[in-house]
Chain length 340, copies 4
């Protein structure tokens, strides 16, 4: 199947171009009986949308979702759930058909398909993440309520806040516009981003993702390991350029005797640095991943116009959480088939 | 589908346990007319198998492949290609059914399936990579002969060789047992690994993967981007704990104005740090990825017996190359469907 | 994947309930550069919709399609094509939540999902065929223009028109409300259906499907044979209860020496009664299939109200043609991958 | 995916050519904990293999299966189950590379793939059904033991035995070489087939399939209805040319008032002529299907040599049962995901 669907059991299919009629998602495979309303999805979309703070782009989309199918009286029917978000503030006239932009997909898209949607990136625009957030919101309603997924900015440019508390919640992260869950770091990042926007520059960072309460036994032993599914899901987000279990690129250089230490309090056989995944399968312990996020590629005068964020990290956080929810939901359903 | 198949158009299905009758692979979707013999596969398997040097485990498997179907007179028929490698040196009696080993999948496997194959890891053993190498060998025969895939050890423990030449070939890498393509570094690694084995310790490292000659236009714009497919493929290898485009975890902290620089000599719109992938789609430039490899988890007396490598990096290199070949083959076939 | 998607390369995903906000389809895998407008789809939908003649139900849906994505300036972009048809004349109040209707899916649906959409059949309503017709219309735009797909009523109840000419066209069939392409039979059927409606009764029939101009070499040799894909596609339509190559249930009783006769004028090795499919693969000759259509299950007073057709055959014809187009498109794309 | 795999949750992948090293199957998605031995599979293969009676071909294959993976101590591990059957009596020299045979796939295969395996049909040979029978045998071990699948010859040429008892068992059918479960009809068929062989002629027939004890709620409402999955599965067998629910081609001509009659003793809403499938979903009542089987296409002097059956019906019966088991297993697993 072509690349607009994600998942094997809980299948999200996204559609839409940034300056077409709208964007949307169809989820097939959501079990019947899940509580779901338009408001669940609207709340999730509000967390990703532009225009939330001084740091984010001025495109004034309301991004109001309409559930077209699959839900009756606040419960999923077991049929496909289609959700539509109409484009309203689509200023196609801002875009010139012929200029290839550095760091964008214009040229390769044209090589691939013979022509391209020149209106703001078309389907290659970041607006496609609307479908991911819709899918993630539905998955989070369906997942066991033990599951908690929290992502936050671990680093933005050269600013590294102290590692947050183990008990960090999504609400605590959302309290900071930079999504650095630390008052000083948040202030420093805000100042830095205002400075970068003025200069027409940008910056990237590292996001950390923590997942708690995942049942043991999810994931497949060979190709659809929990770690590879999460890697695929998160690396499919445009700005993500790297993914690691914990801080793998540093930790992998340790001697094995320092690397492999049993998880205190956990059952025999569990390894701290497995980060909740042994042999590809969830162990029930916390999953910890990091994602590298590249600097935004819109620079110079266009960036100064203030229609683009100088740092995409804050807005990518709910997208990363959504992709994690989609993966877990898919693997959780798959695990129902493990035993007779 | 469950997790023993990889790919959507060129589909590899692996099977086999480390101490069962054998391991094998079925490739469905290989076009007809590809030159293929048992010898192509045997040569690829020799590059991954134990017992190649002082650095690798003593399990004395010949790993001789038998092509069971799909090939006639040295050419693929368009039908499934099944390949079988029998287990010969399977000392099941070495394994005790009841002990869970730290860093292994024993416990989670039992939680998942209710019971487990206690014979040397069963399907969770590294021997499953035989199927990947078989699949990769077939993919490499089918891919355009412009495509060159080379992986090498970029770092092992604290030893970092100088960055190798841009023209590095697979034969040059294979000349060094450590797969560090530098005489001094190779000697230092060899010494270090002998010391670690004596101490019952181990070490990990970082592998770099370079892919040249890939046609522009491969990969899907949203979920099956070239980078996410490669991430999924390589992260599905047991010992891999991280994956990045270039050195993403460091480079993502640069300001956008330093990060985004046009590729000299390449068509307008190409970005050096896109590493051959723009918006998920190949641009025709070199693809560069890094993978973090964790230290081997077999430690102490069992490691000293010399049946396990103190460092898995050299043997993982052909597996990473194989997974890259499988991804490229799948995306290359998919791209045949892009235009009317 | 769950059962709301059809196809492997050209993938149609349908959504929607009969009395929800609307019904629609997403097609992923349509090549870029296909001519497509809203009008192509609207014309196809007009052929299936109720209210076309005295013989069809009075539900006054306009069924106006809106293309939400995937098309720019009258050409497909290579991205998912989403199409929405809003429900307008949805009289939910006509339906009582608790009554199970004979011949309907009410009871099994409730057993399956725990509850059901009681509003007119929900997703089990015949309105789901809107998605099939949308998908078929897109597939017909993309298929080579040599391909001609024509279905017609071969028999309705006890009325059997003479076998139509080999050159029968879709326009000729559409000229008859009963879709029996013969003036006398059409008149007889019309009279019969008016009588049945008055009596609150119904009738079924047999549809013949002819497909010409299909390239040789489509279809897979084992499980995805052209004949099995067509059987799956057409048997998935609610009212279809049987499918045969030609008149297989009669012809299979012939001795082999009468059954197997070479196709005159065709290349050596072609069999008349292969009906264009040898060993599962298209030979380039005309494909001929028949489908048995059961009598409508709404009977008695409800049928007499005139909101239901006494015979579904005429309205099923474009749905059968659409499913055939989807199958051929899928197999035609697949065949691009057959050879190196 | 290409056409050598069947199923979405319980996935059978077949491989092998009639005159290559062997044929086999890999089943991925079988739950852990199913009782399975080589003997279960060997018994199933004995029911399909040639050389069972005077009526069947003389190719003296033992068809001994070897389980290569996925089973430990008589129980499935949850990993892929690979089974290999080696070809032994493969007289390739009997086949001339250049002659296209009427009713065979030689010519289209060459058109499709550019060249073909000329050795006895290659993968297009009936020997591919070995994989189906292996898969079916595993599925039958895994299905609830309430499920009973019995197929029998309902008609062979002009000989129609009386309809068998409702309680007919597989053992009762196997007692008759013709698989007509009636002593007189069996004798008449045997005589007829000996006569046909002498004349170098052949004959087809109709097989009836009865499935009892299927849980209610299996099947998907739209594209993967139980009836369409069964149609696809059974129509994918080479000799099958038609499939119907009950005797659909005759019954569909009844008026609705005669066709739709409630199932006595069954819950309200069940229809006798739904044959166990309402709106695509199983109701718990008996499923009844018929399949048209075309006459064998090997005629004349080659048929007289006695290496080919004059009638394939008896040997197709276990293949039809196997395909039914595969479909039910797939839908039974899918149904585990229906509700939260």
């Amino acid at each position: 199947m072509r690349g607009n669907s994600f998942g094997h059991f809980f299948v999200l299919t996204g559609f839409g171009e940034s300056h077409g009629a709208g964007l949307g998602a169809v989820v097939d495979g959501c079990p019947a009986g899940v509580s779901l309303t338009q408001d669940h999805i609207a709340r999730a979309l509000r967390r990703r949308r532009p225009g939330q703070s001084v740091l984010t782009s001025a495109r004034a989309e309301k991004d109001t979702p309409e559930i077209l199918s699959g839900v009756l009286d606040g419960r999923t029917l077991g049929t496909p759930i289609a959700v539509l978000v109409r484009n309203r503030d689509a200023r196609s006239q801002d875009y010139r058909p012929n200029a290839y932009r550095t760091g964008h997909a214009d040229r390769v898209w044209e090589q691939k398909y013979g022509f391209r949607d020149y209106r703001g990136g078309g389907r290659a625009s970041g607006r496609e993440t609307i479908a991911r957030v819709i899918g993630g919101a539905i998955a989070e309603q369906a997942l066991p309520n033990t599951v908690h997924i929290v992502a936050f900015a671990r680093q933005i440019g050269h600013i590294t806040p102290p590692p947050p508390d183990a008990t960090l919640t999504r609400a605590q992260v959302d309290a900071y516009p930079s999504r650095c869950p630390d008052a000083d770091a948040d202030a420093a990042v805000t100042e830095e981003l205002l400075r970068l926007r003025e200069q027409g520059d940008s910056v990237g960072g590292v996001v950390e993702l923590r997942i708690d309460g995942v049942p043991a036994g999810l994931g497949e032993p060979v190709f659809r390991k929990t770690k590879s599914e999460l890697a695929s899901a998160i690396m499919s987000i445009g700005a993500v350029t790297g993914i690691s279990l914990g801080d793998a690129f540093t930790e992998s250089l340790l001697p094995g005797s320092s690397y492999h230490i049993p998880f205190e309090g956990a059952p025999r056989g569990t390894d701290v640095r497995s980060y909740g995944i042994q042999g590809g399968i969830t162990s029930g312990e916390r999953i910890v991943l990091r994602a590298a996020i590249k600097p935004v590629s819109t620079l110079g005068s266009m960036a100064r116009q203030g229609r683009h964020d100088p740092c995409i990290v804050p807005r990518i956080i709910p997208v990363i959480e959504s992709m994690a929810a989609l993966v877990l939901m898919d693997l959780w359903l798959a695990a129902r088939l493990d035993r007779l």
